[in-house]
């Protein structure tokens, strides 16, 4: 009994700092003796109650006085005295941590944050599909929506919206605004609440109202509260701001400054024009798949060849990036792993060169935990500074990503100041400190340290094995990343070279918003006349929706004498020079000309794919087609080449009509092919516009090539990411090879010296050392190729027009990495040839 008590007291007090340990043990013993005189149970209880306070005392004094802080101070001093390894480790970590925290910030913004609507998991986007044409995200027509509303069972409600623009005039600068028109159901379906004011009123006879976005309210009125109740002049009519939307609300990534009511007349409800975006709220307990099937069945039964599809709104908003991010996150993890491995091998090599010191410490009685603690402490300066630098780098990266990414609204929501991001960075840096502090520590503190010290005399090279393994793993991971990057890069190059069907280079685009009134036609015809004689412009194209700039509207164009086919066809109203200005090939018949006036016979030009599908093997010229119905047919006078809406989009059939013959719609977008520079063309357009109407806004001035480039924004983003991953990974792993080889040379200085003394040729020695590096690199690369082959299925999801398992790519990357490794190895290997045999024998 008394033995057990003494042992307990002894054990507890050994935890205390040395200067009080003995006295405290004596105090506890004395206390026990005194209490035991009255009652042993009391004494035992008293001793038990002492345990927590003693442990706490031990913990505190350990934290205060322990050698750990000494180690840490020592480590910082060491880093200051010999900064090179710390700087390399710091840079390595800054890169690895920076990328991982940046990616975490982006994932957080896209995937983890719920949409700002009530019960967002039940919201879905509902699309019309045309399976035959590979179209799965078509906007449905009001007639289809009515059918879905009447016949589906899966939804609590279906809301509709469409996009529009409006000119804001009156106070302040005139501005062109993006408008989202939403119907009554949409407000209910979203479960929307105004951040200030109230929602839109759909009561009959309600005054013209708008809900404005938070950003617009701030920009224009200085705040949400100030905006509510204010009247604006939109397209010449007063509109009252009923309320302000909560910050960050966007729908399907559609641009909008304000939301206005969308009301249907009875006739509009049955319209076949496909211009609506539909969002539905699932009935409780219904899955997205069930809703999809429900809507699909209704669409199929309505018109064969068509279907429908529901997509979770979150998934839809996050879009394909939702697919990319886990893969990218994986790549970030790999990069972080390489970074840690690299620092580990750096530390390992440094530890190895200090083995004598550790052996001595071990011999003097420093235990394994003591040495491990020291090694961890030595890893901390780099980890802390690297973590801080990583946060800075991640700030740059996120800002860079935001600038690169396509949907700017969603991106504005990325928060850099999110504490979770900081915590992630901190956790990652601590984890990597442990990761690269511990491995060398365990080697250093291993029982074999002293034994290996003796082995040293015989020229054994200690932890070279683990070093080689680490370098090999790094090579494997970076080969996999480089292969992925090359595949993504090739896909990008292919896409940027896709023939769009027109030539965007040298074309500048404009938006000329104008109210639909009788004067508009005159304005546009005068403008075209002026541009025709302008020396700065080769040709001008006028339409309601330029390719790359706007998707345009789809409808059905049945042909006389041909059974009706439900084929989505985009239509554009254009001027005669449209095709020449954009460089669209003219295949058959004529372009529009001055004969095609409002009163003349109605004419149309169709695209090649429309002609081929409607009249296979026959000429389209002279045939008659109708817009939605065949009531007012148009005669086809020409066939032109197909146009891609973007590099990645499939060809959609087009019907072109002269803008002069379509009174219901206004052209509002202009593109001119510049003769000299873009600047002169822009100037010429402005002069021409303002000469006719000085109050006309000239907006959206953009080179068409920039628009084409923008459609590749997501791809570009991927490419930039993968390229930086690959460069970082390859750089780090080459650094790893360099480290291994220079360690190898340092370790075997004596051996190399003896060889040289015995007459070995220096070149042969270099070859031998480089050969060892090549073996490591080749083994690593082989593993990397296997890894890449295995990961190819994941990558296949987002590369287009390229086979991810391309043996040529695999071989080229492998060869390049092995060659680069040999080059990295050659630098320290050459040092071996400069060894002075006499010096080397004295070493150690």
């Amino acid at each position: 009994m008394s033995g057990a008590r003494r042992r307990l007291i002894g054990w507890l007090c050994r935890l205390l700092p040395g200067e009080i340990a003995d006295a405290a043990a004596g105090d506890l013993e004395e206390q026990w003796q005194r209490a035991a005189r009255r009652s042993r149970i009391r004494a035992a209880a008293q001793l038990t109650l002492e345990i927590p306070a003693l442990l706490w005392c031990a913990l505190r004094s350990w934290a205060m006085f322990s050698t750990f802080w000494r180690d840490l101070r020592h480590a910082f001093r060491l880093a200051g005295r010999e900064p090179k390894p710390t700087v390399v480790a710091l840079l390595t970590l800054a890169l690895g941590l920076g990328a991982s925290t940046a990616l975490f910030a982006l994932t957080n913004a896209w995937l983890l944050r719920p949409l700002p609507f009530a019960d967002p998991d039940r919201l879905v986007a509902v699309w019309e599909t045309v399976p035959e044409q590979d179209i799965f995200q078509n906007t449905p027509a009001p007639a289809v929506l009515s059918e879905w509303r009447a016949r589906t069972r899966a939804f609590d409600g279906l809301g509709a919206m469409t996009t529009a623009t409006a000119n804001l005039t009156g106070s302040g600068d005139p501005e062109r605004l993006s408008v989202l028109r939403i119907d009554d159901d949409m407000q209910r379906v979203l479960g929307l609440r105004a951040a200030a004011g109230r929602l839109l009123s759909f009561a009959p006879g309600a005054p013209a109202e708008a809900l404005v976005t938070d950003a617009f309210a701030r920009r224009r009125f200085g705040g949400a509260a100030a905006a509510v109740g204010t009247s604006m002049v939109l397209d010449g009519d007063p509109v009252v701001i009923a309320g302000v939307l909560p910050a960050g609300v966007t729908l399907l990534g559609l641009d909008a400054d304000l939301w206005r009511p969308l009301r249907f007349t009875a006739a509009e409800r049955q319209s076949q024009s496909r211009y609506l975006w539909v969002i539905g709220r699932l009935r409780r307990g219904t899955t997205v798949a069930q809703a999809s099937a429900d809507a699909d069945a209704v669409s199929r039964s309505r018109e064969p060849g068509l279907g429908a599809r529901a997509v979770g709104l979150q998934e839809q908003t996050v879009g394909s990036l939702g697919h990319d991010l886990p893969v990218l996150l994986g790549a970030t993890g790999v990069l972080l792993l390489i970074a840690c491995a690299n620092v580990a091998s750096l530390t390992l090599a440094r530890t190895a060169s200090r083995r004598r010191e550790f052996a001595l410490r071990a011999a003097l009685g420093a235990g394994r935990p003591r040495i491990a603690a020291q090694m961890i402490a030595e890893a901390i300066p780099a980890a802390l500074l690297g973590g801080a630098a990583g946060l800075v780098v991640s700030g740059w990266l996120v800002r860079g990503f935001v600038a690169w990414l396509p949907q700017r609204d969603t991106l504005a929501a990325v928060e850099l100041g999110d504490p979770r991001i900081f915590l992630f960075g901190l956790a990652a840096s601590i984890a990597s400190a442990l990761c690269f502090g511990l491995a060398p520590a365990l080697t250093a503190a291993s029982r074999r340290t002293i034994a290996s010290l003796r082995e040293d005399a015989r020229g054994r090279s200690g932890p070279a094995g683990p070093l080689r393994l680490i370098a090999g793993i790094e090579i494997a991971l970076s080969v996999a990343l480089v292969i992925a990057a090359v595949v993504v890069g090739r896909s990008f190059v292919r896409l940027s070279r896709v023939d769009l069907g027109f030539r965007p280079d040298g074309v500048v685009t404009f938006e000329l918003p104008r109210r639909a009134d009788a004067g508009a036609g005159v304005f546009f015809s005068q403008l075209l006349d002026r541009l025709e004689v302008s020396p700065a412009v080769t040709a001008a194209a006028l339409t309601q929706a330029l390719p790359l700039k706007s998707f345009g509207f789809g409808s059905n164009f049945p042909a006389e004498g041909v059974p009706p086919a439900n084929r989505l066809t985009l239509w554009r109203i254009v001027n005669p020079q449209y095709f020449d200005a954009l460089g669209i090939r003219r295949l058959e018949g004529r372009a529009f000309d001055r004969r095609d006036t409002a009163g003349a016979a109605r004419v149309a030009i169709v695209s090649e794919s429309y002609a081929r599908a409607t009249w296979p093997g026959q000429s389209a010229i002279g045939r008659r087609i109708g817009w939605a119905t065949l009531e007012r047919p148009m005669t086809v006078v020409g066939v032109v080449g197909d146009v891609h809406l973007s590099a990645t989009a499939p060809v959609v059939p087009h019907v072109y009509m002269p803008y002069t013959q379509v009174a219901e719609f206004q052209p509002g977008q202009l593109a001119v092919r510049a003769r000299g520079g873009d600047a002169q063309a822009i100037d010429a357009v402005r002069q021409a516009v303002w000469a006719i109407d000085p109050a006309q806004p000239v907006a959206g001035i953009q080179p068409m090539e920039a628009l084409a480039w923008r459609t590749l924004a997501r791809r570009r983003f991927q490419l930039a990411l993968w390229t930086s991953f690959a460069i970082a990974a390859a750089g780090l792993s080459l650094l790893g090879v360099y480290g291994v080889v220079s360690y190898r040379v340092r370790r075997s200085t004596k051996e190399l010296g003896i060889r040289l003394a015995l007459g070995a040729r220096p070149r042969a020695l270099v070859g031998r050392i480089v050969g060892e590096a090549i073996v490591i690199a080749a083994a690593g690369a082989a593993a990397g190729v296997v890894l890449a082959y295995w990961a190819a299925e994941t990558i296949r999801g987002f590369v287009i027009a390229v086979e991810p398992r391309d043996p040529v790519v695999y071989a080229a990357v492998t060869a390049a990495v092995v060659f680069a490794s040999a080059a990295a190895a050659a630098i320290p290997a050459r040092r071996a040839t400069r060894i002075d045999p006499v010096q080397s024998l004295r070493a150690e």
Binding site: E30, Q31, L54
Partner: protein, 107 residues
């Protein structure tokens, strides 16, 4: 002049009261007897160490005794700054209590 926590003050006073016999168990007894509150050796040592680090206490090892399993006592004593601090503290406290007559001096 640093502010003292309540318990730190009690420990300093306990050490002062015990004079030449101020080792942990004795100081603990002194505080318990006067305040009627239980004090654990562990928490006493946390404070003793902190006060020593602040330079208010100094300590020396005594001789081992059989009652303590042959272990030595560590005796604590106030340093000159420790004493000065207590004086100042006493003056401040008395100035605050003066004339209120809440508690009679029990003698």
């Amino acid at each position: 002049m640093p502010d003292l926590a309540e318990f730190e003050l009690r420990v300093l006073l306990g050490v002062l009261r015990r004079g030449d016999d101020a080792y942990a168990v004795a100081v603990r007894d002194e505080i318990e007897a006067r305040t009627g509150r239980a004090v654990s050796i562990g928490s006493l040592y946390i404070t003793l160490q902190r006060l020593e680090r602040k330079g208010l206490l100094r300590s020396r090892l005594g001789d081992p005794s059989p009652e303590r399993g042959g272990r030595a006592k560590r005796f604590y004593a106030l340093t000159r700054p420790g004493l000065a601090l207590l004086r100042a503290e006493c003056r401040m406290t008395q100035a605050m209590w003066a004339g209120l007559g809440l508690v009679r001096d029990e003698k």
